[in-house]
């Protein structure tokens, strides 16, 4: 980034969207679970497992679509597994989530080794990737083209899912029930809602989103699976959901902020400051944003 002109800013935008996509997808998953009162700490593990499943199944079938579906199914299945631990075994929600993350890290590595003889990555598998989309007319327009066209299909999916999840939560009967269950399960029970069924559904849906986030890593960003490739994004997604105050658009803006901070820290590597300090940027920016936001909210409340 030698010159900060408009052009270089615009080329920056696809990077932001790429970095944001997995956080946003996983963040929406966290959102659904937390609104149902079962905060999914296991997104990290579900993401990793989704990334793995996508690669393996697409390599086995030669179909990116099937691989992607497998990522969703595996994410969802792990959501069901977490729900089994929480609802049937009545284990601690947080601890079960942590355990799921541990199990996913160990399990994917073990399976990878059994399939390929390599614990590091799946380079020997000819897995498929999901495409990027060029939008015919838009692509030609100078600035707008860069902004809106040429992104990965899951980037579009993630941003389109924002109104989807928002409408689901706020405007559909299921969303209403889900929110009621999350806020006051006894009341929901009294209203004749099967609380457990709603929470199971929420965890499965949450897992599906996490699976999609994982697929973006292994079938979008790169075309292989590598050990622990989710690299903590699940936890960043948790942060995004909390920062977004439990709404889909809020989660989107928080994810974008986190994405911008990360993309900025990447771009700033060139300026020659110690790399360690540049790497703190994506973590300090959200804290600062959180405080600024909280202060403003406090002031508004005080004035009201």
């Amino acid at each position: 980034m030698t010159q900060l002109d408009l052009a270089s800013l615009i080329t920056f935008i696809p990077a932001i969207l790429r970095v944001t996509t997995p956080i946003l997808l996983a963040g929406l998953g966290v959102l659904i679970s937390s609104r149902a009162g079962v905060l999914n700490i296991g997104v990290e593990g579900m993401m990793l497992s989704g990334a793995f499943a996508g690669v393996v199944v697409s390599a086995a079938t030669g179909s990116a679509t099937l691989g992607f579906l497998a990522a969703l199914v595996v994410g969802g299945a792990l959501g069901a597994a977490l729900s089994f631990a929480v609802h049937v075994l009545k284990s601690d929600l947080i601890l079960s989530g942590i355990a799921l993350n541990m199990a996913a890290a160990a399990g994917t590595t073990l399976l990878l080794f059994m399939l390929t003889g390599d614990k590091g990555m799946s380079g020997s598998l000819s897995s498929q990737v999901l495409p990027s989309l060029t939008i015919p007319v838009l692509a030609g327009i100078p600035v707008l083209g860069t902004l809106l066209s040429g992104h990965h299909i899951l980037t579009y999916a993630a941003f389109l899912a924002v109104p989807g999840v928002g409408l689901f939560l706020m405007r559909t009967p299921m969303g209403l029930r889900l929110r009621a269950v999350g806020e006051n399960p006894e009341s929901a029970e009294i209203a004749g809602i099967n609380v457990r069924r709603v929470q199971v559904g929420a965890l499965v849906a949450s897992g599906v989103f996490a699976g999609a986030a994982g697929a973006f890593l292994s079938m979008g960003y790169v075309s292989w699976f590598s050990q622990n490739m989710s690299a903590g994004r699940g936890f960043i997604a948790l942060a995004a959901e909390v920062m977004g105050h439990g709404s889909a658009t809020g989660t989107m803006f928080a994810s974008l902020l986190l994405g911008i901070a990360e993309a900025a820290s990447i771009a700033l590597q060139g300026v020659g400051l110690p790399s360690e300090l540049m790497q703190t940027v994506p973590y300090l920016v959200p804290v600062i944003a959180l405080v600024v936001h909280a202060r403003r909210r406090q002031r508004l409340l005080a004035r009201a």
Partner: protein, 363 residues
């Protein structure tokens, strides 16, 4: 009461055998000597004093991090800064003993103290932001953990790095600064006693002092605390300071107890262990001790089989994950029928007694 505690213990033990069996037996069966694998996992840690020592060494930071988590959770703060505080505490301790000229006897105590103070910031800052601005401590502590990591790496790179070393590590910790070993043939060091004492003091603090009582009131019902006129913000902050000091002090103790130099290049994970231990111990400082020992025992047993047989280390990770879920499974641990079966008594009669007691109180 005691009988039911014993019953839960028996159930835990049986369950563990089951879980380990489910994962381990198929693997063991594929090896030449399946029984030896199981035997090593279960009894191995006690056959060699060094291995038993490993359990205790490993439990030491787990207890302290668990205590830090418990103290903060009890005050109602979901502060995950223990991970970063442990890291930064270890670093600041090493930096102090390396950079500050100190007489030999003062190195360890001053080092750990400075480490505790510096490292605690990772817990205190989120605590302050929450108390002052109501900013989510979950998010800020999660983020500051990583910020602490990279700031720490920066400090190592620019101030502590031993250029003669082939890695990004500090100069060697002077021998005078190291914590004395307690038992020959093991690495058990003074830190273990400190950790045990800390858990004891933690229990005293939470359950026997005014300050701890106030923290628990705030944690269990902030509105009640406000009703009583307790200074909620300063109580919250005080809890985070205590938690942060314990976590960061644990990092310093770990460094001076077991390490030759500061050589962490990523977060060491003890904070997460602390969360797990605290949940297992239901935030009770005394129960932290068996909880930490238990987790470490599983870990050492797992390491032993991974080391001595062709059991992949990932299989050990899977076992540990399953164990975590199972030992907190209320459906199993609190199952009345199971408890009755194990304890051999009928709760129905207990219930009758209890009901009478309640009614007796009426007259």
């Amino acid at each position: 009461m005691i009988r039911s505690a014993f019953a839960s213990f028996v159930i835990t033990a049986v369950l563990l055998v089951l879980v380990v069996g489910i994962v381990l037996v198929p693997i063991a069966m594929s090896l030449p000597d399946p029984l030896a694998v199981l035997d090593t996992f279960v009894f191995g840690p006690f056959r060699n004093p060094r291995h038993t020592g490993n359990i205790i060494e490993m439990a030491t930071p787990a207890m302290m991090c668990g205590l830090a988590v418990a103290v903060m959770f009890r005050a109602g703060m979901f502060n995950l800064g223990v991970e970063g505080a442990f890291f930064l505490g270890g670093l600041a301790t090493v930096a102090t003993v390396l950079l500050v000229p100190l007489p030999a006897f003062a190195m360890a105590p001053v080092g750990i103290l400075v480490g505790a103070i510096v490292g605690s910031s990772v817990c205190v800052v989120p605590g302050y932001l929450r108390a002052r601005y109501e900013a989510s401590e979950l998010v800020s502590s999660l983020m500051l953990n990583f910020a602490a990591l990279f700031i720490g790496l920066f400090v190592v790179n620019y101030f502590l790095r031993d250029p003669a070393a082939g890695a990004m590590v500090s100069y060697k910790i002077p021998n005078d600064a190291k914590l004395p070993k307690l038992i020959a043939g093991t690495r058990i060091h003074l830190g273990t006693l400190i950790a045990l004492a800390a858990c004891g003091l933690g229990a005293v603090y939470l359950f026997m002092t005014r300050a701890g009582f106030e923290a628990r009131i705030v944690g269990s019902n902030p509105s009640f605390a406000a009703h009583l006129g307790l200074p909620i913000r300063s109580i919250l902050l005080r809890s985070q300071v205590i938690g942060g000091l314990i976590a960061a002090g644990a990092g310093g103790i770990e460094m001076l107890g077991l390490y030759q130099r500061f050589s962490w290049q990523s977060l060491p994970g003890n904070g997460w262990t602390g969360v797990v231990v605290a949940i297992l111990a239901r935030d009770n400082p005394i129960l932290l001790i068996p909880a930490a020992l238990f987790l470490s025992y599983l870990q050492v047993g797992g390491d032993l089989i991974a080391r001595n047989f062709d059991v992949p280390s990932e299989a050990v990770g899977l076992i540990q994950a399953l164990v975590l879920i199972v030992v907190t499974a209320q459906a199993i641990m609190r199952n009345p029928r199971l408890l009755r079966f194990v304890a051999g008594s009928k709760p129905a009669t207990n219930a009758a007694k209890e009901t009478k007691a309640v009614e007796g109180g009426v007259a």
